[in-house]
Symmetry: C2
DNA sequence: GTTCCTGCAAAAGCTTTGCAGAAGA
DNA sequence: TCTTCTGCAAAGCTTTTGCAGGAAC
């Protein structure tokens, strides 16, 4: 998980301006324990930054993803979720309550020889099923 | 990989009618070695079935996915890809040429204890990077 | 004869784009 | 001052929905 300072420095290094709006998005993402969508970021910040637009959120997230400072999760069919933790880990989505859980997974131990000549930059692991809380209901 | 007959029987069992259009979609999917999108299925079949609509393709794929007879791949941000192979395996997407490669992976060997109380129904593994052919250019 | 399906058109929802005014460096 | 960014509105795309006519069983 990157700190707000690390994220800021990384952007500065790439000549991406640290505007007020971007800093707020960065701050929200780095404090976030779940995996917010653009909609959720927008709703969370619009009180504090009333003029904020979704366009700016999309723009900021695009740069962060290009610099590999955040992960884009496609586990949900409808909209993208964003994760400030970029270490390889798994995501479990409950089909009942839609909550997304993180879990550790060692992808190196189940590596495959078939991809020996491939340059692998990103490893995404999505499990789907039913979480304990929904199972007990 | 399911055969056309297995797919048909599975649908019949669930009271889903085997219309001409659906059989064609099934046939195309079960012969397909890549991971077609709705657009690709549509373009491939419209000569043979001129009246075919994308609505029907979406409809058929929805039933197949609900019955777990096909996998829905969300590896591409823009549109869904469909895979008639339902055994757990990995998908590698080349960021340069956008081709999707299959690879075997043993997910059981890297299982995590954190999900002990979860009911896991689906395991998706997406790797992204650059394929050998694009690397050599 | 029922019931379900098809395919058109329209709607819905997420994301991108164009652009004039505003803010960062 | 120069360049980049913001935020609005509109457009773009994939996917879904409503519905009348048609096909499956």
């Amino acid at each position: 998980m990157k700190t707000l300072n690390e994220l800021s420095n990384e952007l500065k290094k790439n000549n991406i301006r640290l505007t007020h709006q971007r800093l707020k998005v960065l701050e929200y993402l780095s404090n976030s324990k779940n995996h917010p969508t653009v909609e959720q970021i927008y709703n969370a910040l619009k009180k504090e930054v009333p003029s904020l637009s979704k366009t700016t959120i999309y723009n900021t997230l695009k740069y962060l993803a290009e610099l590999s400072l955040i992960q884009v999760l496609a586990i949900d069919e409808n909209e993208a979720h964003f994760d400030a933790a970029t270490e390889t880990h798994g995501h479990f989505k409950c089909s009942t309550c839609d909550k997304i859980y993180d879990f550790d997974i060692d992808m190196d131990s189940c590596e495959t020889e078939e991809l020996d000549n491939f340059e692998i930059n990103e490893k995404l692991v999505y499990f789907k099923g039913i979480c304990p809380r929904c199972l007990s209901k």
